[in-house]
């Protein structure tokens, strides 16, 4: 399978099953759009006949021969021989956890998927015993995996920071004995950040996600306090301090959400960059399509165009010697994750679970509160393997939309939670997300192509 697209004057051809990326001239591009396997004499004759009014026969023959050469090298129209690996998809050790340390929040963001913090289950903080039990669970279920990931999530985790600290201490005390390393991350809205908390986060957390939507008016429209006032002014300087004190070897992201109200979100990315942040993620809102801020089918052209604009803006920054990493354009065309990893995506419900303040276990943070996906509970030590096995099999070859999608090895079958929430089935791709995903990937591939060509010249 190949995927051809034109963007910013480049003709790009992706060979889906090897990940090969080629740039081609117009004649080759047109030829590729008009041929399919087998590349035999009939195929050659047919396409030359079709295009000979536009190009010379010599040129067309030369082109066809180059295409055949790449085909013979196995990097164009390559075969899909991955399904056999998908068949091995079995339950993996659990090695990553989203710990809902606080089902409470000091903001009332209008688009919150957690019902403004409590996930519809009542406002609650996790106590240390549950936190410790969660660590024990991870140590026990992680098999031979050495790197264990624990994300402090909410609600707002800083509302229960003493427990965060104790859990980190407890987990660290177990690392040697079990031969594991914990990687902690935290996602915060920033309101309660203090110098002490910043220092702790910078010392212990390998990644920190700082929520902010971009421009002040954009942020303050959605990210409001209980009294309706905006949060921008209270957080922006704290984020700057945190990032300025942070070791460069550790990750962070300022992370925003765009909605129907700011479909010109490239301005928000650039605003954040201009505030001094070079690791930025701004993503489409997810939630009830009936909400006034929800993104709908009719917004897609505007959104796709906005990603194109963002490419230009980021390119300009790079050409001026600056650096801004946009999360969804990150892609390493030579050394990304292995194909096996790419078959299965996020690992929700299989190698990744979420734990609530009550000790309930769910496939991931977005499934929390949906009774039929409750996998077990830490108090009574239950863990439903049927649900786990079901999630283990959510690979791209089990998803009808995905197996023939050109983006399958980058997207890996999308978000199971979105699939369920919008399409009613974890195996059914959420069309709107797919369109946005594919656009971002085209932009990401293009940016890599541009960088690579620059390097070569």
């Amino acid at each position: 399978m190949i995927h051809c697209f034109r963007l910013k004057g480049f003709n790009i051809v992706l060979d889906v099953h090897t990940g090969g990326v080629h740039i081609v001239d117009d004649i080759t591009y047109e030829m590729l759009e008009n041929i399919s396997l087998p590349l035999d004499d009939d195929c050659k004759k047919g396409v030359i006949e079709k295009l000979k009014g536009k190009y010379t026969i010599d040129e067309l023959e030369e082109c066809f021969d180059e295409i055949v050469e790449l085909y013979n090298d196995g990097i164009l129209f390559s075969e899909d021989d991955y399904e056999k690996f998908a068949d091995y998809a079995v339950a993996s050790p659990v090695k990553a956890m989203c710990l809902h340390i606080a089902h409470d929040c000091n903001l009332r963001c209008k688009y919150c998927f957690a019902s403004t913090g409590d996930f519809g289950e009542g406002r609650k903080l996790m106590d240390l015993d549950i936190g410790k039990a969660a660590i024990d669970f991870l140590l026990e279920k992680s098999g031979d995996r050495k790197n264990l990931e624990l994300d402090f999530f909410g609600g707002e985790p800083l509302m229960n920071f003493d427990v965060v600290k104790e859990i980190v201490k407890y987990a660290r005390s177990k690392e040697k004995e079990f031969g594991k390393t914990f990687r902690f991350t935290i996602t915060t809205n920033g309101l309660l950040l203090t110098d002490d908390k910043i220092d702790f986060i910078n010392k212990e957390m390998s990644n920190v996600v700082l929520s902010i939507d971009g421009r002040k008016e954009v942020n303050d429209r959605m990210r409001v306090r209980v009294d309706g006032s905006g949060s921008y002014d209270s957080i922006i300087d704290k984020y700057k301090v945190l990032v300025s004190k942070r070791d460069k070897s550790k990750d962070y992201y300022v992370r925003g959400t765009y909605t129907k109200y700011n479909l010109d979100f490239s301005n928000d990315v650039i605003h954040l960059y201009e505030c001094g942040f070079d690791q930025v993620s701004v993503e489409p809102v997810m939630g009830d399509e009936k909400e006034s801020f929800a993104i709908t089918e009719g917004d897609l052209d505007k959104i796709c165009n906005e990603y194109d604009i963002l490419v230009d803006k980021l390119t300009e920054i790079r050409e001026k010697g600056g650096f801004c990493n946009f999360f969804h354009f990150m892609l390493d065309l030579n050394q990304g994750p292995c194909a096996i990893k790419r078959l299965r995506g996020c690992g929700s419900g299989n190698e990744y679970v979420a734990v609530t303040p009550d000790g309930d276990i769910y496939p991931c943070h977005q499934f929390v509160g949906i009774e039929k996906f409750k996998m077990g509970n830490l108090h009574n030590k239950t863990f439903n393997m049927d649900i786990k096995n079901m999630f283990a099999k959510t690979h791209i070859y089990a998803k009808d939309d995905c197996k023939d999608c050109w983006a399958k090895f980058y997207c890996s079958g999308g978000c199971n939670a979105n699939n369920y929430l919008y399409e009613g089935d974890i195996l059914k791709a959420h069309k709107l997300s797919c369109k946005i995903q594919r656009k971002r990937l085209e932009c990401a591939i293009l940016m890599n192509v541009m960088k690579e060509l620059e390097k070569q010249s």
């Binding site: 051809v13 060979d15 099953h17 090897t18 990940g19 990326v21 080629h22 740039i23 081609v24 001239d25 180059e66 050469e69 790449l70 196995g74 990097i75 021989d81 690996f85 050790p93 990553a96 989203c98 995996r145 790197n147 990931e149 991350t185 996602t187 990644n207 996600v209 992201y253 992370r255 993620s281 993503e283 999360f327 390493d332 065309l333 030579n334 050394q335 990304g336 994750p337 292995c338 194909a339 990893k341 790419r342 995506g345 996020c346 690992g347 929700s348 990744y352 991931c364 977005q366 090895f409 980058y410 997207c411 890996s412 999308g414 978000c415 979105n418 990937l441 990401a444 192509v449 690579e452």
Partner: protein
């Protein structure tokens, strides 16, 4: 080649045989929390 320029190593198939160690990050842990993009993860297989 005159008409086609290959940009990368196109080595995805090779990674299938030796891959699957499971040491890399679970993808939703990094920044998103609302979507899945796997290709921007790093491989962390022990050398």
């Amino acid at each position: 080649m005159k008409h086609i320029k290959t940009i990368n190593k196109a080595n995805l198939k090779k990674t299938a045989a030796k891959g699957g160690c499971g040491n890399c990050q679970a993808s939703c842990q990094s920044a998103c929390k609302t979507s899945c993009t796997v290709a921007n993860q790093k491989c962390e297989k022990d050398a």
